[in-house]
Symmetry: C2
Subunit: 351 residues, 2 copies
DNA sequence: CGTTCAACGTATACCGTTCTACATTATCGA
DNA sequence: TCGATAATGTAGAACGGTATACGTTGAACG
């Protein structure tokens, strides 16, 4: 009982001593490595349980793995990301891996710092959600740490895996739906980007929008406007659009949060939705289904995206070299914000 | 140039060699420890910059600090938490500390696992946001790792600091406001808890509600109903309340998200808000200000809470022993969801 | 009955820091 | 000029794991 020092930490050595085996044997059990008899394993596990031993991640990190995965989110306030996290957590539930989140606040400089920080902390793998950093930086990162990207279209990438929803199709569905209920002057409210880049989901959605408009014979109505992430700028832009002489018949927003702001501005201006203007969002977050919003949106199961990303990452950590690129299929959820007139047939309410 | 091994990692030794000093000297510079001349510091820093040296957290963790702080969130989908994170990030901006988030999904078992995981990873400090774990477990954690709790009322705690908003006052403001515009039958929609415990913010709000009702002479109208975190249960309960014979004149919800669900149900039932029923939320998240919601709420500056918590944590890591307990003051933001009749004077819209 | 070889264990170098204990100079007052 | 003291720098032992390189068995085989 009375050991010399007080509050002695339980290390692999303590366990070895208690079980009457070597340190290496304990380590083998821990890593479920080759060359351990059932008897020995049992003995060691008994000792570990008895002593309440927990391996120290820092020490493991010095030579092997840390069993920690880094998740890079640009902004936790977007409820879509919480779906992704739920999927990641579900996938890692029964594994030894622990996901830890870093928030980049949508700034590419912070993004890089954060990734460096994760690298310094010897993370075994990275899940990057809609990163904004340069392609070259991304490659650098991916060569050092197994990485999976969500919301980054680069099917030719060899250094990392990607998991995406088909954003071109998603935007396509929206335009077809709006055109189907008779709208022609459909504006796409997109995200302000430093440069148009095919890897970005917003660019993909712009492509889907433009293509679909052409396919519907509405090419001459094609109009893309862009605002940054802030509610403020989206509102200014929305106000401008809604008060202009030829007010759009429908505004399709790149993400739900922006659509909700547009809905707010329309309401303030005394416009009826969808009577005066139809509004559509993207991501089908929980707010869409609330009756005061009843926002048509595109469902892209964030949960599934997260789950698959985590699965791919584990595979990659375990040694897979060949890149995989998953593309899931979106689904339109029509609600009353986009139906033509008072023929409004709202989708079934939740609960 | 051509060293033996390829892609040699830049360690403290590489730097020492390059600068022509000892390893210990470099370490001293890193830690800005005592006994370094300006000349030496300059030399070392030049080498570090030249070689792009970054200290390995795992190695530091073996001996000293990891410069990593753990943030425990129950659920990232609540936008209030993103405000808290923004505050934490702001406070740590210019420091060496890196915050990493773990999500417990509101389950106290996961909560404990997560804290163990953070402990295994040698986090220097913990910020726990509205934890659900038992007091004893909390004490155990706090004795091992410097901890600050947000949204946990325990002004007598000696092992950790707390940062809170005055929830009793917040609920008080709401009741006074509602009573002021003539409501009497005010129901409080609270959170289902395993047991009533004064440390919980919801209990505090219940107390504030009950007290204020009594103070307003409305004791006989006092009614508290409780639902769990899910939208489903909140909706069921809301439907029940709104369809009952004596429908409440006002429903005060413990958090915005629930209030928005209640608003949704009310809208579905064809009730006018605030004409038929007033609705009030808590946290003043971004959704409150949207015109379709225009939800009266209590602002408790999550940003400030996060900022203060991070500040206190750093102090504690640096050695402060005496516990500090901050209580901030909430502010009511009245919007049209709670005004008596068509005299509705909506608050100024954003932007 | 020797040889081979898989199965099981062990000893120990090593990972990249921190930090104590100590060595070597300057600085300076008497 | 001589300690005494402060200032600066170094050597090297930890920290707690991992994983390589071996040593020892015992069973199977020819």
């Amino acid at each position: 009982m009375a050991t010399k020092k007080k509050t002695e930490r339980v290390t692999i050595r303590t366990v070895a001593e208690d079980a009457g085996v070597s340190v290496a044997a304990v380590s083998k059990v821990l890593r479920s490595a080759y060359g351990v008899s059932d008897a020995l394993r049992a003995k060691v596990q008994a000792s570990m349980a008895k002593l309440g031993y927990r391996p120290l991640a820092a020490a493991r990190g010095m030579r092997g793995q840390t069993y920690t995965l880094g998740v890079l989110l640009s902004d936790i306030s977007n409820p879509f990301f919480s779906d992704i996290m739920a999927g990641i957590n579900a996938a890692l539930e029964r594994t030894e891996y622990q996901p830890l989140i870093g928030v980049s606040q949508s700034a590419s400089s912070i993004e890089l710092e954060l990734i460096d920080a994760m690298q310094d902390r010897q993370m075994d793998g990275l899940i990057l959600v809609a990163p904004r950093m340069k392609a070259a930086d991304l490659d650098t990162v991916a060569t050092r740490i197994p990485s999976v990207l969500i919301g980054h279209h680069l099917p030719g990438a060899t250094l990392f895996d990607t998991v995406n929803d088909n954003d071109v199709l998603g935007a396509n569905l929206v335009v077809k739906h709006l055109a189907g209920v008779g709208h022609r002057n459909i504006v796409f409210l997109s995200l302000q980007m430093p440069a148009l880049d095919d890897v970005l989901i917003t660019t993909q959605r712009e492509i889907g929008y433009t293509t679909a408009m052409a396919e519907c014979g509405l090419a001459r109505y094609t109009q893309i406007v862009r605002a940054d992430q802030t509610a403020r700028e989206a509102r200014t832009l929305a106000r401008h659009l809604l008060q202009s002489r030829q007010r759009p018949e429908a505004i399709f927003c790149w993400t739900d949060f922006i659509a909700l702001e547009v809905l707010s501005v329309a309401t303030e201006l005394g416009l009826s939705v969808p009577g005066d203007v139809a509004i559509v969002g993207y991501d089908n977050t929980r707010y869409c289904d609330m009756a005061q919003n009843s926002l048509t949106s595109v469902d892209q199961s964030g949960q599934l995206l997260g789950l698959q990303a985590a699965r791919l990452l584990i595979e990659r950590i375990k040694g897979r070299e060949k890149a995989e690129h998953l593309v899931l299929t979106p689904r339109l959820v029509a609600r009353s914000s986009s139906l033509k007139v008072a023929t409004s047939v709202p989708g079934p309410a939740a609960a």
